[in-house]
Symmetry: C2
Subunit: 215 residues, 2 copies
């Protein structure tokens, strides 16, 4: 089934939230939901929900609404939660370890396959069932296991060379927690980068707090 071409990023970023709310509704025992009621629960408009969903297909039924289970599973397969793309974590510091232990990679379409670090005190330790490998093994590992995505939890200074070699080794996407900004050339190559700039997020919060106080 060829999905509608070019769905806007705004729509895509709402999908995981729909998915979460539908999962909740399932747990609450709902079997059907109207765009109207979902919109109230989520704090957006019914119109937007219908528009968003219709980017991917007509999942509802006039006069009835949407079947919760069905819509949930449709959204899941649209996003690829049933996939199992191999992922590596590069950088087993605080953040890397916390992600390894906290993120449910399986539920989001991935499979955590290896963790790398360059510190002798960390290499060889076990995190979430995986033994931390030496970054010097990164190249061999990638040639053999072809990870699709790398989680970048390394210091900024280390990022450029690591990214460059990972791209050469076939990594297609990055979940970027480092303070490194990917240059435009990677986007042109079709490399996908999902940035999680925690510092930016916190500064935004600071601005909003400050502005609220100034009113």
């Amino acid at each position: 089934m060829p999905k509608h071409e070019h769905v806007s990023i705004s729509v895509i970023r709402r999908l995981p939230r729909y998915y979460r709310f539908l999962g909740d509704l399932m747990k609450l025992g709902f079997s059907r939901i109207s765009s109207q009621e979902l919109s109230q629960r989520m704090g957006l408009t019914a119109s937007q929900i219908r528009q968003d969903l219709n980017c991917f297909g007509g999942f509802g039924q006039q006069g009835y609404g949407y079947n919760v289970d069905m819509l949930h599973s449709e959204l899941g397969s649209i996003m690829g939660t049933n996939m199992s793309y191999p992922v590596i974590i590069v950088g087993a510091g605080n953040i890397g370890r916390a992600l390894a232990m906290n993120i449910n990679f399986g539920a989001t379409g991935f499979r955590l396959s290896a963790i790398f670090d360059n510190s002798p005190s960390v290499i060889g330790t076990t995190i979430s069932g995986l033994t931390v490998m030496d970054v010097s093994e990164l190249e061999n590992y990638c040639r053999e296991n072809r990870p699709k995505v790398a989680v970048l939890t390394i210091p900024r200074a280390a990022a450029p060379s690591v990214v460059s070699s990972l791209v050469d080794l076939g990594v297609k996407g990055f979940w970027n927690f480092s303070h490194y900004d990917f240059s435009v050339k990677y986007k042109e190559k079709g490399i996908i980068v999902e940035n999680v700039h925690l510092g930016d997020s916190l500064m935004t919060l600071c601005y909003l707090i400050k502005s609220a106080g100034e009113e």
Copy 2:
């Protein structure tokens, strides 16, 4: 100086990135930059940069461009990086600890003042210079120290009651890493929530990887 009223959230979310790039330029020894050159480095349009900055004031000079140091510090004070709002972390699990150790709260307008947990094995341990306190002390602590913001790194199930009491105790903003979705009523009360839904971010990445592969 009364800032221009209601700057859109899209603009606000770009400010930290401008700030970062300007900091880099300072380190590289730049003293001036044109919107044109900055736009190329950042991968956006010069027009957008000028529009964004002019939401807050005319920081440039015709024929010259922008003074890097000056613009950097202006943006800093617009965002409030010079503030020192007290912040508490609620939940000293992997993520809470990693944030305590990794985030430069001081550089983003905050001051980490306390960390709470409910697990006896964690209470009393030291993280980043702070002794983890028992959540039972949360109320007293807030009454005495009036934290402005709380970082939520607790399980979802624990969130509703913690949030409710923190709001009653005067907390104005949340940096929310829990899977809890704040209900609309808090927004109506003027509570500010900056969500960091890591699962959503990873699912978005999955979708993008999947779509790229399907082309």
